[in-house]
Every structure is written in C-alpha cells, then in structure tokens.
Amino acid sequence: MEAHLEKRFQDKIDQEIKIEPKDWMPEKYRKTLVRQISQHAHSEIVGMLPEGNWITRAPSLKRKLGLLAKVQDEAGHGLYLYAAAETLGVERADLVADLHSGKAKYSSIFNYPTMTWADIGAIGWLVDGAAIMNQVPLCRCSYGPYARAMVRVCKEESFHQRQGFEIMMTLCNGTTEQKEMAQDALNRWWWPSLMMFGPNDDESPNSKQSMAWKIKRFSNDDLRQKFVDVTVEQAKHLGINIPDPDLNWNEETQHYDFGEIDWEEFWNVVKGNGPCNKARLDARNKAHDEGAWVREAAVAYAEKKRKRKEKVA
C-alpha cells in the first residue's frame, strides 16, 4: 500500500504536478519540508537583526526609509514561510520555540556583525544576491504552499539587492574613506556569502533526495558557481576587489575558478561559535518574552468580547 502511494506520489512529482497540503505524502518529504521551510523562516527573522541595527543610524532619509521597508519585508517573508510550514501540520509557536531554544538552525550568515554602514550595502548586494540565487528555483518547488510563498518573496526581494548594490555604488563613488569602507565590507562578507550555498555537493547527503522530490532544483555547487560568475562582474563595476587570490577566469569551463572555502569556520558558526550567535538568539528571546503579556492580553480581550457578544445574542 505504502509503496503504491509512494510511487503515485513520485509520478506526480515527475509530471510536475504540485503537492498540496492534504495530499498524501511520504513522512520524510513532510519532515524535510518542515525543516527546510522553518529554517528559511527563521533565517528571515534572525536576518532582521544585523540590518535592523542600522535603521536608527541610516545616513539619510532615503536610506532610512529604504532600509526600514526592507527589514519589514523580511518580517513579511518570515511570516509567509511560517504560514507555509503550518500547512504541514505544525504550529508556528512550536517552530519559534525551537529557534529560541537553539535547537533549530538558521542561515549562518546572520551570525556575523554589521560594523559599518557599508555592511548594509554588502548584505543587500551579496547576501540577498546569494539568497535570490537559492530562492528563485524554489518558486518551482514541488510543494504548492512553499512555491507560492516563494513567488511572493522573490517578487518583493528584487528591490533588496538593487538597494544594496546602490548603497555600494554610492560609497564606491564617494570619498576615499567611503570606498575603503565598501572594500572592507566586501572583504568580510565575501566568504560567508559563498558559504550560504551550503556544503560541497559530495558533503551534502540529503541533497539527492531533495532533488528527486523537486524541493531542490540545482546543486549547492552549481548555484555557488553561478553566484561567483555574476558577482565578480558586478564587483568590477564597483571598482572593488574580491578577496580571493585564486579567483581566475577559466576559458575552458567558461566559469570563474575560485579558492577553497574555510569549512572549519563554516561548521563552527553553524554549531554556535560565530561572533553573534548568542546575541542573535538573546535578542529573539528577549523580544518574545517581553511580548508575552501583550499576546496574552489580546487573547483575553478577544475571549471577553466573544462572551459579551454571546450574551447579547
């Protein structure tokens, strides 16, 4: 029976028919999606913090409005994604509790500090750029609610990367100090951005199944290569240098060769040893704990109002 259902399920996927919430699905497919979608949602929410840092310090009205709207979008994206996860029979409160306890993971990139204003430019340009590479294929993911959420996310995300690039461009066309600020930000964010695509393909055991289920459409290394190829050209426009001595155009492959990623650093940040892991979780926990009385009050009031209505009726 199970084998029969599983074959029918895989046939649907092979024919590019979307899976919807109440359809039969293998338990492992469901679990993989819950993990991936909730991690994705957590990343959006934690990702608000490093950039949110600079909302009060943004250097002009235009930049302040742009940054505020961007960080707000990330809250929206987190919300769409939690909602997509909830169609799989989990509750947001439980997912959030896993984030707050440190059990759930989120994108490691947000465990690096935003020290200068140029970091806001670099995050928009590089981190959102890498995120878009990852996310566009997810719009065609086999699970309907996730795919639909990603369509929304990608539509809104397009202004983020442009905003980041424009900030970098303005700095690079500015004073010597500003250009140095931009180069410094690129130096610090380049390698963590490459790490965003995840481990090399031969170190990524779950990838094969995710590809078969069409949750994933391209391999980590393929996406990373694509990102390097387009970003190197953009850096040339900015007139700043990618901090990789091994970066070279390869005539034969028609791609850029690039240096080895420091995977020891990657795994350490994943495990909680990044410069800001603790600060990020503390901030999330603080907001959640300090909001508890507000959430409770709203429930209590809704309950009172319902009862009063019943009485009248």
Partner: protein, 249 residues
C-alpha cells in the same frame, strides 16, 4: 519666512522623531504581525517628515536639502513635542504614546487640510488618511490592553499616568503657531482641544482605564527645550553625517 519654516519644522520634527522611535521596534515586536504593523506606521511618519523637509528645503533654497534638517541640527533647534521623543518602554508605553499623539494628530491634520498654503493642505490630506488608520490601531490596542488581563491593565494604566503630563503640550501655542494661524496657514490649536480630549476619554473609558487628573503639562519642545532623550536619538540618527561630513550616501 523664518516663522513659516519654524511652523513646518514643528510638524515635520514630530513625525521624524515619533517615526524614529517606532522604527526602533523593527525586529523586536511582541509578534511578527505587530512588528510589521508598527513598521508600517513608522514608515508613514517618516514619509510625512520627508515631504515636509523637502518643502522646507525648497522654500529656503540656497542648496538646502531634505537631509539638512534631521541630520544637521542639534537638540536646541528641534521643535518636536516632548511626547514624541519619550522612550519606547514596553509595548504598552509605545501604544500609549502613539494613542496620545494620534488623537491630537487626527484633529490637527483634519484642520490643516484647510490651510491656505495649498502644498501644506495637500500634504495634510494625504497624511490624514494614514493617521485615521494609526488611531484605529493604537485605539484598538489601548482597549485590548486596558480590558485584557490584569497585568496588561496595570501596565497600560501606568503608561497612561506616566505620559499624561506630555499629552497636552500640543495645544500650547508657540510664536510660530500664532503666526501661522494669523496667516491662515496654520490651525487654531484651542479648537482642537475639546474634540481630542473627548476622543481620548471615550477610548480610555472603553479600555476600562482611569483618566488621570489633569495637572502639570510639560512644555518646551516647540521652542527647542527638550528632555535628555532627544540628544541620544540624535547621536544615533546623525552619527554617519557627523563622522563623515560632506559625504554623499
């Protein structure tokens, strides 16, 4: 001209500072949905401030830009109400601050639509739509928190008590207010007092909250006499412009 700029700055600085305060919440709200809602309101205020600063820059000429006003004035040149610069405190305090401001602002912008300065009247009309929503939001939350749990009731009552002395500064006339009224550019603040207070009373009652006795009103914001809090806001707000003067961002 100087008085007109002062008058516009009173309005703009209120929006700028209260918008800035709200923007501090972004990423730290009690629940995702409310984080997004508060940021929307912050964006409305900051957008209004920007419109008005642009107008000031155009009127003053001489290469002034919209950013000169928020990023290059020290505390004593700011004309916002003391209410707007009060710290966020807990969510309830932010809502109370917002509620006191929104109730005033609704009446103020309604009247300002009739300004003989057409540009200002148009800005007021646009902003009034936003403010109507802001008050719906803050008013609903006043009621939820006031009539929610015992804890929420006590917390919000304390915020009302703490902020009450800033509630009515908006009705005190500055020199710029008197000038603007005279020129039919501005608004008669005295006429706003009763409808504002009625609106407040109505919502506070529904929220089962005690209305504090009217006592001493803190004042000085419109004349540049501020609390200690504004200086800290500016040291964040103006950091980059001060550290790297004459740069384009």
């Amino acid at each position: 001209m100087e008085l007109k700029i002062k008058y516009l700055l009173q309005i703009a600085d209120n929006a700028m500072i209260i918008g800035h305060r709200l923007s501090e919440w972004c990423g730290h709200g009690p629940i995702l949905e409310q984080d997004i809602a508060m940021t929307n309101i912050a964006l409305d205020h900051l957008g209004l401030a920007r419109n008005l600063y642009q107008y000031c820059a155009r009127l003053e000429g001489g290469g002034k830009t919209e950013d000169d006003y928020p990023y290059k004035r020290d505390v004593r040149k700011w004309r916002n109400l003391l209410l707007c610069e009060q710290d966020n405190g807990d969510f309830g305090k932010t809502i109370t601050r917002q509620f006191l401001y929104d109730t005033f602002n609704l009446q103020f912008l309604t009247a300002l639509q009739d300004s003989h300065d057409e540009h200002l009247a148009a800005i007021a009309a646009k902003s009034l739509k936003e403010t109507t929503y802001h008050l719906q939001y803050s008013g609903d939350w006043m009621i939820r928190l006031g009539d929610g749990t015992e804890e929420s009731h006590d917390r919000i009552q304390k915020s009302v008590n703490d902020l009450w002395m800033y509630a009515d500064e908006s009705f005190l006339e500055s020199e710029a207010d008197r000038w603007a009224l005279n020129e039919k550019i501005g608004v008669d603040l005295n006429a706003l007092k009763l409808p504002t207070q009625n609106n407040r009373t109505e919502i506070l009652k529904e929220a089962t909250l005690q209305i504090p006795e009217s006592g001493w009103t803190q004042q000085g914001g419109k004349e540049g006499k501020h609390s200690e809090q504004l200086g800290y806001i500016l040291s964040d707000l103006q950091f980059l412009q001060r550290a790297y003067p004459n740069s384009v961002w």
